[in-house]
């Protein structure tokens, strides 16, 4: 992890956890400031993560491109660059009341149990 990467190379890839563990804070910030920009940008990122065509058994891969909706590597599992994405899906659904995040969480969690 430790993504000091933008200027030195890996600015084409992101990982699920890094892209999907921003939303709670940004949603809250929009709520208390009244400025929607934080939530708009952060939630769009989350929606895009959900929109990437998935792997076998509908699994999320850990690594994805930033410039197109596609996984860059097939790394399926629950590890350091993945786990908090699922955590934030569930919490974001609870915080916003938006069912699509709860559903996305359950879709992913149910497969993980198998």
């Amino acid at each position: 992890m430790g993504g000091y990467r933008k200027s030195t190379g890996n600015h084409l890839e992101a990982c699920l956890a890094e892209a999907g563990t921003l939303q709670l804070e940004f949603q809250y910030l929009s709520d208390v400031t009244g400025n929607p920009i934080y939530a708009t940008k952060a939630l769009k990122a989350m929606d895009q993560l959900i929109a990437i065509p998935r792997g076998p058994m509908n699994l999320y891969s850990q690594n994805l491109f930033i410039n197109k909706l596609q996984y860059s590597r097939d790394r399926f599992g629950i590890a350091g660059c993945t786990d908090s994405f699922y955590e934030y899906l569930l919490k974001l659904g609870l915080a916003t009341g938006d069912e699509k995040y709860i559903k996305a969480y359950h879709d992913a969690a149910d497969v993980s149990y198998e």
């Binding site: 993504g3 933008k6 600015h11 992101a14 956890a17 921003l22 940004f26 910030l29 769009k44």
Partner: protein
């Protein structure tokens, strides 16, 4: 970074004096005009998150202002073709 991380915990634990000291330290010393590249993920969960939970618990508007400051410096990470963010950003743009 530690006082920011710990601020909400200190408050919840009833360590009011320590929480106040941490808050004063943060408001006096924390600034983001630093010529460094940071991890967006780490900065968000520890600094934005720490400042916002401090604001939520203590109600100090100055904490919110600091949170807005650092969040504004993170916003450029989302300027990508997909809206999926870069994983790091330079604090001074």
């Amino acid at each position: 970074m530690t006082p920011i991380d710990a601020l909400d915990t200190l408050h919840i634990m009833g360590l009011t004096k320590e929480a106040q000291e941490a808050k004063d330290l943060i408001l006096k010393n924390l600034h983001f005009d630093l010529p460094i590249e940071v991890s967006a993920f780490e900065t968000n969960i520890r600094i934005v998150g720490g400042l916002l939970s401090g604001y939520e618990l203590l109600g100090d508007e100055d904490l919110l202002e600091k949170a807005k400051d650092i969040a504004n410096r993170l916003l450029p990470i989302f300027d990508t073709p997909t809206g999926i963010p870069f994983n790091s950003v330079h604090l001074m743009g």
